[in-house]
Symmetry: C2
Subunit: 110 residues, 2 copies
DNA sequence: CTTTCATATCGATAACCGTCGATACGAAAG
DNA sequence: CTTTCGTATCGACGGTTATCGATATGAAAG
């Protein structure tokens, strides 16, 4: 049976080195100002073409492509190719999982 | 009136460069395997003495001290000195804020 | 005062990362 | 086939960072 989350909430018990490594990869993917803006732009719409993401960010096309790859490999974005265009959308499950892992409401006294 | 969160959820609207920068600082503080394990150890107890954190992590004392400083400066940990010992505890509000910013449940269709 | 011990800081090193221009790839259009 | 255009990859450069040993700081103990 599949696990529905990557690991226990960070508040419950010490993370194993393996869980910490995989969680860090996903957090690292978001822990950059340019990638955060890129991600939030994609998340704000239904689906975004890569061609529309260079201008609002003010970085070069290779840089956008690089960041999109990082976010996609971390599982936070989904990529779909249509013709010569690449469309990206948010993987809500992965984001919800990340949010849940950080949720401190499981701690006593909150 | 004070804002209760640093910024809008990443799913709602494009982050401003300033908001992205400040959010990235806090995410970056957690986006390291060693710091994640360190943080989860502190979060698992009521309060942790720095002297008890070196052994379970398997890194040197200066490295632990460095990571504790990073997490504290990001607002995720609180530090209290008692005698020659330093005690650390989780700032639940900061963690809850981080969790809320990533929460995708505001998106339609979830 | 001197010693001991917990913690922080310093300086160095190696690895990692964000960014770019140049270029390759691949699909549609002419 | 050739051109055009969107995207990905490459190679390089500069800045950041995780880690360590050595050392400084500062507080309690002797």
């Amino acid at each position: 049976m599949e696990k529905t989350t990557c690991c226990e909430p960070v508040c419950c018990s010490p993370l194993s080195p393996v869980d910490a490594e995989s969680l860090a990869i996903r957090l690292k993917a978001l822990a950059d100002p340019t990638r955060l803006r890129l991600f939030s732009i994609v998340a704000s719409g239904e689906e975004q073409c890569a061609c529309d993401l260079t201008d609002p960010l003010g970085v070069s096309q290779p840089t956008v492509s690089h960041h999109l790859k990082t976010l996609t490999e971390a599982g936070l974005l989904r990529r779909e190719q249509r013709g010569k265009w690449a469309y990206f959308s948010v993987n809500k499950d992965a984001l919800a999982e990340l949010s849940a892992v950080l949720d401190p409401s499981v701690l006593s006294g909150i």
